[in-house]
C-alpha cells in the first residue's frame, strides 16, 4: 500500500467537473511533482486528499485511511496550501504552539521547526508584520511540526527569494532521503525538474501522465531525434537493442535522449536506410504543453 493513494477521484462543483476519475500513487522516499495548467484541478485534488473538500466519487487515502480518520493527522501528513493564512495578531511561536497542543506534540518541536526554517529571531513578532516569504516559511514550519511521513506542498516557493528556493529544494530532497513521501504542486517547471523524481500531470481534471520525470516529460531541455527510415520496425528494434527508447510520431520515430549521430550509427550498423534525420530539442515546457494539450503563447 502506497503512503498516498488516489483512486477514481472525481469532484463536481455544480455543473463543473473539476476532477475526473483521477488515480495515482505517491511513493515514500521520493519527491513527486504535481503539475498542470491553471484550473487543471490540482488544488481540488490536494484538498480532497486533505479532507477539506468532499469527493463526488472515489477515494484519496493515506495508508488506506482518509485524512479525517487519522488519529494524529499532523504526525502523518504535513501540508502547506497556497491560501494558508495566519491570525495577524498572533506571534509565529504562539501559532505553532497552538498546533503543537492540538496535535499533541511537545513544545520543543516548535523551537526545532522555527530553527529549521530560519524564523527563530522573528518567532515572537506578530505574523501581521511578516513578509510573504516569512509567512511561507511559517507555513512550512507548521507542516513539519509533527515530523510527518507525508508532505504535501502547494506552490511552496511562492514568496521565496532565490536562496530560499534553493533551501526549499534541499528541504524536499532531505525529507525524501529520510523516507518521506513528498508531493509538490508547482507551476515552475524548471524548478520542478531540479527537485522531483516523479511527476503526476493533469489537465482539465484528468490524468495526462504519471511516472518518472524522464519518462513523462523527457527531462529538462532533453534532446530528441526525429528519424524516418525505409524500415521503421527494423530501426526500432535496433534502437531498442542499443538501449534507446523509441516513440512513434506521425510517419516517423522520436528517440528521446539520443543525438542524430547516435541514431545514425545504430541505423548504419543495422543496415537501415534513413529518409530523414534531425535533432529536435524539446524543452520541458514544450513537453508539458504537448502533454496537457494547452496552446502555446
Amino acid at each position: 500500500m502506497a503512503p498516498v493513494e488516489v483512486r477514481d477521484l472525481s469532484k463536481r462543483f455544480g455543473s463543473v467537473l473539476a476532477v475526473n476519475n483521477l488515480s495515482f500513487d505517491i511513493k515514500a522516499g521520493r519527491v513527486t511533482g504535481f503539475l498542470g495548467p491553471n484550473g487543471a484541478g490540482k488544488s481540488t485534488t490536494l484538498r480532497a486528499l486533505l479532507g477539506l473538500v468532499r469527493p463526488s466519487t472515489g477515494t484519496a487515502t493515506f495508508d488506506g485511511r482518509h485524512y479525517e480518520e487519522l488519529e494524529r493527522p499532523s504526525a502523518k501528513v504535513g501540508a502547506v496550501l497556497e491560501d494558508a493564512s495566519f491570525h495577524p495578531g498572533r506571534t509565529a511561536r504562539n501559532h505553532l504552539r497552538v498546533l503543537a497542543v492540538t496535535g499533541d506534540h511537545p513544545f520543543e518541536r516548535v523551537d526545532a521547526v522555527l530553527a529549521d526554517v530560519g524564523l527563530t529571531e522573528a518567532a515572537d513578532r506578530r505574523v501581521g508584520g511578516y513578509s510573504m516569504g516569512m509567512r511561507q516559511r511559517l507555513g512550512i514550519a507548521a507542516a513539519l511540526l509533527g515530523d510527518p511521513e507525508v508532505l504535501i506542498l502547494d506552490e511552496p516557493t511562492n514568496g521565496l527569494d532565490p536562496p530560499g528556493i534553493v533551501w526549499m529544494r534541499g528541504l524536499l530532497r532531505a525529507q525524501a532521503a529520510r523516507g518521506r513521501a513528498v508531493l509538490v504542486s508547482s507551476h515552475l517547471l524548471a524548478e520542478v525538474a531540479q527537485s522531483v523524481d516523479d511527476v503526476v500531470v493533469i489537465s482539465r481534471g484528468e490524468l495526462r501522465g504519471h511516472g518518472t520525470l524522464e519518462s513523462v516529460l523527457g527531462g529538462d531541455e532533453g534532446l530528441v531525434t526525429a528519424v524516418r527510415a525505409q524500415d521503421d520496425e527494423r530501426l526500432t528494434r535496433a534502437l531498442q537493442a542499443a538501449g534507446h527508447t523509441v516513440k512513434r510520431s506521425g510517419d516517423g520515430l522520436l528517440v528521446p535522449g539520443a543525438s542524430p549521430e547516435q541514431v545514425g550509427v545504430v541505423a548504419g550498423d543495422a543496415g537501415v536506410y534513413l529518409v530523414g534525420l534531425a535533432a529536435q530539442t524539446r524543452s520541458l515546457e514544450q513537453a508539458f504543453l504537448a502533454l496537457t494539450g494547452e496552446a502555446t503563447s
Binding site: 462543483f13 477539506l52 473538500v53 493527522p73 494558508a84 491570525h87 504562539n94 497552538v98 496535535g103
Partner: protein, 244 residues
Amino acid sequence: MSNLLRAELLKLRTTRTFVALVGVSLLLSLLVVVLTGLLSDRIAPEDASDLFTADFTGLFIMLLGVIGMAGEWRHRTITGTVLAAPDRLRLMAAKMLAYAAAGLLLSLIVTVTIMVVGAIIFSARGFEAVPFSDLADVLWRNLVVAALVGALGVGIGALLRNQVVAIVGVLILGFVIEPALFGLAPDVARFGPTQGAPSGIQDIEFFGEESDPLSPGAATLVMLGWIALFFAAAGVRLRRHDLV
C-alpha cells in the same frame, strides 16, 4: 477533545481580542455603576443588585464567541484549523466550551470589579449596603449567563461565517428585534437568546415591570436549546462545506 479545548484557550490567550473586550466591557459597566452611584439620590439594595447584573457583559461575551468562530473565515485560518482538527463537530464543540470558559472569566472580572467599585461609592454616599448573599446570587447568575452566551456566540459565528454579518445580526437581535418582540408578544420575547432568556436566569425585569421572565431553570433550558439548535444547524453546514 482536551487537546482541542486547550488549543482554543491558547488561541484566546495569544491575541488581544479577549483583553480588548474585557477592557471595553469593564469600562462601560463601570461607567454605568459610577454614574448611577454618583448621580442617584438613593439606591435601594435590590436596585443595586440589578445594577450589578452587568448587562453589557453578556452582549460582549456573545460577540467574543462570534468573533472567535467567524474570525476563522475572516482571517482565512479555517483551513489550517480544520487540517489540525479534521473532526469539525468536535472542533466546534471545543470552541463552544472554550468561549463558555472565556465568558465565565470575563464576567467574573467585570462583575467583581463593579461590585467592589459600587460598594465603595455606595458606602461613601451613605447608601444601604447590599447583603453579601445578594451579591453572591448576582455573581453566579451572571456567570451562568456568561457561559451560555459565550457558547451561543460560537454557534452563531459558525452558522453565519461572515463576521460582520454575525456581529450586526447579534446587535440587531439584542437591541431591536427582541425589544420590539416584547412589545408585540411578550410571552414569546422572554424566550429570546440575547435578552429574554438571560433576563430569566438573572431574575431581572429587563423589559420593565410588566415583563414576566422565565424561571432561572426554564431560562437555562431555553438557552441550552438555542445552543443546541445553532450547533446542529452550524454542524450540518460545516460538515458539508467544501473549503476551497
